[in-house]
């Protein structure tokens, strides 16, 4: 019942549609502005924040450096504590494992803890093909699922919806899949949450199988950790008889003590809270307490491809806080759907190409390759990242991989030809001088058609046809080139002395 990102157009096209939606722009600007201010306030309280960031980055870096060792240790610890470990190379393998476990227990439905990785692999859709209904129990995920919609943010997937829209979705869709919303439902947040609580309660009490992800997996002890705000996760992790957790292999940390900096960094960075409301930890099976059958599916799905990239591998440090989304001026205006993935925003712009690979043929490859360019490289994402992922550095690196992936194309892009021409003229100052003299002539021609004078007296060109020029001048005037370049002036006047 939820949609899919398959077939999304490249970022510039998808962004254009999103930018035209003024309600969406308003919802996003309001929501990201609020959460940015909250984060800034609580981060500002921690004097040693920078040390904490360094510690968090170091923990994840150490884990990734010897990932194979830590994963084997995690498997041993989990098995020793009564859990069953499954290894999945890709989405299909992981989905198959979860479906088989649910079928083995005759389950026609599962309840879900909010989890990015199960969205990444399209678990709900895969289970539906097996006749198994997967119920999202996180409030925002429920809104997305009931609205037959797609998530647009890692932490607040329904950020693109306002409360009036949420009320309509609840009234329309809740009754189709369970307890209907009360007829007198208002758009008061507490009333909406109350309706969701009533609706979900019967699902929690009925479900035999729960599916979760994990924020962290401790190799030393075999402990999985889920961090959430609503208590729905705690319900899923404790009530059903069977628990299946799908965990990306980069979630492993070596020791229990390693959780310390990460659990301090995460809530302040993500929800702007000092401490996380519900932090659930479980270690295999505890007889007589909680699920008595525990499965852990360790998933690759492109993570080893990212690990093999020596600049890009830092992206695997990500703890999914979404601070970079909230800080990003591009995300604030386009929203998450334009990125065509469950991982939107700056982190999505690097994770998707790193995990899927760049330079792939076809529309899907084109969509992925457009993501590293979906940034003005302003650096706001790096500034807020709790594990110090230098996202602008990785973006530039991935752009070079996109370009390199097309170096053997039989018909080079206009951009490639322009860059070669620029390299030619910038490779030698005399050649640049010729180009500038030509530009001075062009400037005199252009200003004849120019409709405007910039404040301060300079002539400007208005709309100019042609691909690159039209993209600029559609909404922006362009100053006409001056009659004389700086270098020509310096030569003519001996640096202004004569």
């Amino acid at each position: 019942m939820s949609g899919t990102f398959v077939g999304m157009p490249a970022f510039p096209t998808a962004a254009r549609a999103a930018l035209a939606d003024t309600q969406l722009r308003h919802n996003l600007a309001h929501a990201t502005g609020t959460i940015r201010a909250k984060r800034a306030a609580v981060v500002g309280e921690v004097e040693e924040w920078e040390d904490l960031r360094l510690a968090g980055a170091a923990v994840k870096e150490a884990a990734l450096r010897d990932l194979d060792t830590h994963l084997v240790r995690l498997e041993e610890s989990l098995t020793a504590r009564g859990a069953t470990v499954h290894w999945a190379r890709d989405a299909a393998e992981a989905n198959e494992v979860v479906a088989r476990i649910a079928r083995d227990h005759g389950a026609e439905e599962v309840v879900k803890v909010k989890s990015m990785v199960t969205q990444e692999i399209g678990l709900n859709e895969a289970l539906a093909e097996h006749g198994i209904a997967a119920w999202e129990t996180d409030l925002a995920e429920l809104i997305v699922q009931l609205g037959d919609d797609l998530p647009s943010h890692i932490l607040v997937p329904a950020i693109h919806r306002n409360r009036a829209e949420v009320r309509e979705i609840f009234l329309r869709a809740m009754g189709e899949v369970g307890r209907p919303a009360p007829a007198d439902l208002t758009d008061e947040p507490a009333v909406l949450a109350g309706a969701a609580r009533e609706h979900l309660r019967e699902k929690f009490l009925r479900a035999k199988v729960a599916v979760s992800g994990a924020n962290f997996a401790v190799a030393e002890t075999g402990t999985l950790v889920v961090v959430e705000s609503e208590g729905n996760g705690r319900m899923c992790l404790t009530l059903p008889e069977v628990l299946v957790s799908v965990v990306g292999i980069e979630k492993v940390v070596p020791t229990f003590a390693d959780l310390d900096p990460l659990l301090r960094l995460l809530p302040r960075s993500s929800t702007g809270e000092r401490m996380n409301p519900y932090t659930s930890t479980w270690t295999g099976v505890t007889p007589g307490d909680g699920p008595q059958e525990v499965h852990v599916v360790l998933l690759d799905n492109g993570r080893t491809r990212a690990l093999a990239d020596d600049v890009g591998r830092q992206a695997l440090r990500c703890i999914r806080c979404s601070a970079c989304l909230n800080a990003c001026p591009v995300y604030e205006r386009t929203g998450g759907h334009a990125y065509g993935s469950v991982y939107p925003g700056p982190i999505g712009a690097i994770l998707n190409p790193l995990m899927k690979g760049t330079g792939r043929p076809g529309l899907e490859g084109e969509q992925t390759d457009s993501l590293p360019y979906a940034s003005s490289l302003c650096g706001a994402c790096f500034e807020v990242c709790p594990v110090r992922i230098d996202i602008p550095e990785v973006l530039v690196h991935l752009r070079s991989k996109v370009v390199d992936g097309h170096r053997d194309d039989t018909v080079p892009k206009a951009e490639a030809l322009a860059m070669r021409a620029a390299a030619w003229s910038f490779g030698d100052s005399r050649r640049l001088g010729w180009v500038e003299r030509a530009s001075g002539v062009a400037g005199r021609v252009l200003t004849r058609f120019g409709r405007t004078t910039l404040p301060g007296g300079r002539s400007a060109a208005g709309r100019i046809p042609g691909p690159g020029a039209a993209a600029w001048t559609g909404a922006r005037d362009l100053p006409a080139p001056p009659r004389e370049s700086f270098r020509a002036w310096w030569r003519r006047t001996d640096g202004g002395r004569s």
Partner: protein, 246 residues
């Protein structure tokens, strides 16, 4: 001290007045600045679009042009950031140890104008006069790549006659972003329009920044809106004196 002006390709070709202002300003402060004619561009347009091979000859030209100077001063936070933080990457790509060594020698000597004035020359009052209401946009690369902090503000606050008004949302990107401005023109313009709205809201006569490329973008939006707000590079305000006003 041998000081070279790295004027930048954008200023050379499009905004020569900014280069002239740097020369006037530095001479007034007793620095005999030189313009090495072999210079072209910092290679940022190629690097940030992903064309690393194409950036190699440009970085080679850069280090050759500025070899032997004690300091290189540039009226652009973005180009200073490119020289300091990206040239090493390009040199590694070239596999040329000689180029890598030359980059390691040249890169740390590159200073953005406000850094050069405050840190190298140790001045914040440059003797300027500019009797106008001004608002300042801190460009992203000067702010986050270089960390110029409040240096430009301190310089502006010392200008006689100048009234500095705060720009709401100042630290958010204007949406220029190099080739982003064309490759993602719609998003770029949406960001630029929000920046322009904030600028107009201040009632300032002039929007000032340390990067003409960003000003070309926001100024282009303001001009299309016929907002009547002028955009000016920091160097041009700092170079202004009572004689200019008269």
């Amino acid at each position: 001290m041998r000081v070279a002006l790295m004027v930048t390709c954008v200023n050379d070709a499009m905004f020569p007045e900014t280069g002239k202002a740097v020369v006037r300003l530095l001479r007034r402060l007793g620095v005999d600045v030189d313009f090495p004619a072999a210079q072209t561009c910092c290679a940022q347009p190629m690097v940030n679009t992903g064309y690393l091979d194409e950036a190699v000859p440009v970085v080679r030209t850069f280090v050759d042009a500025f070899a032997g100077y004690d300091a290189v001063v540039t009226p652009s936070g973005s180009c200073a950031g490119s020289a300091r933080h990206q040239h090493g990457l390009v040199a590694r790509r070239s596999g040329d140890a000689g180029l890598a060594a030359a980059v390691a020698e040249t890169s740390p000597k590159v200073h953005e104008l406000s850094e050069f004035l405050v840190d190298v020359l140790g001045v914040t009052d440059v003797g300027a006069y500019f009797p106008h209401t001004v608002t300042y946009h801190p460009t992203c690369h000067s702010l986050r790549m270089l960390g110029v902090g409040d240096r430009p503000r301190r310089l502006l606050e010392s200008v006689r006659g100048l009234r500095l008004v705060d720009l709401p949302g100042a630290e958010q990107c204007c949406g220029f972003g190099g080739t982003f401005a064309v490759k993602n023109a719609d998003t770029s313009v949406a960001m630029g329009a929000d920046k322009a709205r904030h600028v107009r809201g201040t009632g300032a006569e002039v929007l000032v920044a340390g990067d003409n490329s960003c000003l070309m973008h926001v100024g282009g939006v303001l001009s299309r809106q016929q907002a009547g707000v002028r955009v000016m590079h920091l160097a041009e305000i700092l170079a202004s004196t009572e004689e200019d006003a008269a």
